[in-house]
């Protein structure tokens, strides 16, 4: 680390360029700072970035993990076969992912906003509501999945009795038309509490004097919501949409618990397909293909999430101006 207080090309933007506080740190403190940073980055590189690079490498081979099989470099063959031989599964899972991600992102954000709007207060009922909405997150995917499997059990479950009232009978999680809808519903159910929490934080950060000013100007509930609350919630909307989007894109564990991977019931998202090819039902044949799907998933997440993030950040700047 150089002693120069400010270096050009450095990312010090916006703020006044004053001496870096780092020079105030003692020598030993600087060493601990660098040591801590290095340790944390090593963990991140070894177990985050490293495995992803490993995936990229494996995706160019026909690696199988069978002891007697030799591994060959196959170039882009695994990527090519995504679009050719195994195309039905791949295309189908892209469609499933798009439907799943859109529905979950919109549903989770909308439900979170509605619940946060009602549960932001200090009353006892609001506190109870916040707790109830948060319980599914604490329960975790395994418990949540098992509870909804019991509810949607075709023989004994309450959903069977409920839909039976309308003369609707189905195998639910074992039925083509139903499974994806149920999986979307349960994913929203499980994560709505997180969105609620983020929105409540956002609502509480709004300066109450703005509402008072609005009340003095005599604006109604709807206008207040549209002109004050919603614009000022923009950062919370960004956080929520991004977390729901990335979560929905890469998820596989809840789907795995609910439908067992579900290629036959239309619940095989890209995340699930990557899991199935690397570890689940299709694993033995070619791990290189599974790795290629994982790389494709990563690229697609970035390709979809980056413009959404840029748009939402721009929206924040527009609304908070």
């Amino acid at each position: 680390m150089t002693k120069a207080p400010v270096t050009t090309g450095d990312a010090v933007r916006g703020k006044a360029r004053r001496a870096r506080p780092a020079r105030l740190l003692s020598r030993t403190s600087k060493i601990t700072m660098w040591g801590g940073l290095a340790l944390a980055l090593v963990v991140y590189l070894l177990f985050g970035i490293g495995p992803m690079i490993g995936n990229v490498i494996i995706s160019f081979t026909d690696y199988t993990q069978l002891a007697w099989a030799t591994t060959h470099v196959v170039g882009f063959a695994n990527y090519a076969s995504m679009f050719t031989s195994q195309s039905t599964a791949f295309y189908q899972s892209i469609v499933t992912t798009v439907v799943f991600t859109l529905a979950v992102t919109l549903g989770q954000s909308a439900l979170g906003l509605l619940l946060a709007h009602k549960l932001v207060g200090d009353s006892k009922w609001a506190a109870v509501g916040r707790l109830l909405v948060f319980v599914p997150i604490a329960l975790g995917v395994t418990i949540v999945g098992l509870v909804w499997i019991m509810i949607f059990d075709p023989a004994q479950g309450p959903a069977t009795s409920f839909f039976g009232l309308f003369g609707v009978h189905s195998a639910f999680l074992g039925a083509d038309g139903w499974a994806l809808g149920i999986v979307i519903f349960v994913q929203i159910w499980q994560n709505a509490g997180f969105s609620t929490l983020v929105f409540i934080g956002g609502l509480r950060a709004i300066d109450p004097s703005l509402y008072e000013a609005g009340a003095m100007d005599g604006i109604g509930t709807w206008r207040r919501l549209r002109k004050i609350t919603f614009p000022l919630l923009a950062p919370s909307v960004t956080a929520n949409v991004m977390l729901a989007l990335v979560g929905a894109f890469t998820t596989y564990n809840l789907i795995y618990v609910l439908t067992g991977g579900g290629s036959s019931y239309g619940t095989q998202t890209l995340g699930m397909l990557a899991f199935n090819d690397a570890f689940g039902v299709n694993a033995e044949t070619n791990l290189g293909y599974g790795a290629a799907v994982t790389v494709a998933l990563f690229v697609m997440t970035l390709v979809v999430a980056t413009p959404v993030l840029i748009y939402l950040r721009g929206r924040e700047r527009r609304l908070l101006r």
Partner: protein, 271 residues
């Protein structure tokens, strides 16, 4: 005074929450108190409540030890993840290192990383992290780090930098400054980061299968799964296991939720 439409919509949301969030949980609790025969004959009604499911579930699977093990994995990995997140976030937020912005972007990419189980498995084997407690914890530290860094950079940035300067001029060491001054002030962000990392361990369903081989190391989610068969006569046991496992986790969240609410309230009172 509460205006009428407000009350009506409040009650409507109350009913929505009760139906949507309370009913499914209550159903699982009800099942856990039902005798298997009654459940098979009339699944939708509560018969004479029995306690036998809990005893059976407890003894048939190793729920007790598994629960303790899971808490160990999740809490230690969550703490490590949060602490390492702060060690990255503070220098970035204060621009103590060159290329802070690039480093931030580099960490941000981590939010999008999908699970790479095959390389991770290979790494675990070669680094002797496969099938042992410490290894399992170490392998679960990274997933929580990117979000921890995002949250903590945002939170540290709101603290005035004058604090650092005063403390350091008076000779406070880096770590004790972080621990005594920064940690108390960014507690809400730390708590969210910790809970997020903890949930990552709790929700991991492939880790136990891919990174552990002896069942004596399995977390409790594996134990609960043993009750999930095609035979629905076992479901009262499954429900009992679900209730047993959920109680401590829900208790932890109730305890933390108080903190979270207080924290976010305190955070909103700024001039």
């Amino acid at each position: 005074m509460i205006r009428r439409p407000r009350l009506v919509s409040g009650v409507a949301v109350g009913i929505l929450i009760a139906l949507l969030f309370l009913a499914p949980v209550l159903y699982a609790v009800m099942l856990s108190f039902e005798s298997p025969t009654h459940f098979l004959n009339s699944p939708m009604t509560l018969g004479k409540p029995v306690l036998s499911n809990f005893g059976k579930a407890w003894s048939q699977a190793d729920l007790g030890p598994e629960l303790l093990r899971t808490i160990l994995y999740a809490v230690v990995a969550g703490l490590a993840s949060t602490a390492l997140g702060l060690l990255i976030a503070f220098p970035i937020a204060r621009r103590l290192v060159r290329g802070s912005a690039a480093l931030y972007t580099f960490l941000f990419i981590g939010v999008f990383l999908p699970l790479s189980i095959i390389p991770l498995y290979a790494e675990a084997r070669s680094m002797d992290l496969y099938n042992n407690t410490i290894g399992y914890i170490i392998l679960h530290i990274e997933p929580g780090m990117p979000l921890a860094v995002m949250l903590l950079v945002a939170s540290v940035s709101t603290l005035p930098a004058e604090f650092d300067e005063v403390a350091w001029m008076e000779g406070a060491s880096y770590l004790s400054y972080l621990w005594r001054v920064v940690v108390p002030m960014v507690r809400p962000a730390l708590l969210i980061a910790f809970l997020y990392a903890l949930l990552g361990v709790w929700n991991d369903i492939i880790g136990p299968v891919a990174l552990l081989s002896s069942s004596s190391l399995y977390p409790v989610t594996e134990g609960v799964f043993t009750f999930y068969g095609s035979n629905s006569s076992e479901w009262t046991l499954l429900a009992a296991a679900v209730v047993i496992v959920s109680l401590p986790v829900v208790a932890l969240f109730i305890a933390c939720q108080r903190q979270l609410n207080r924290a976010s309230l305190a955070g909103s009172v700024k001039g």
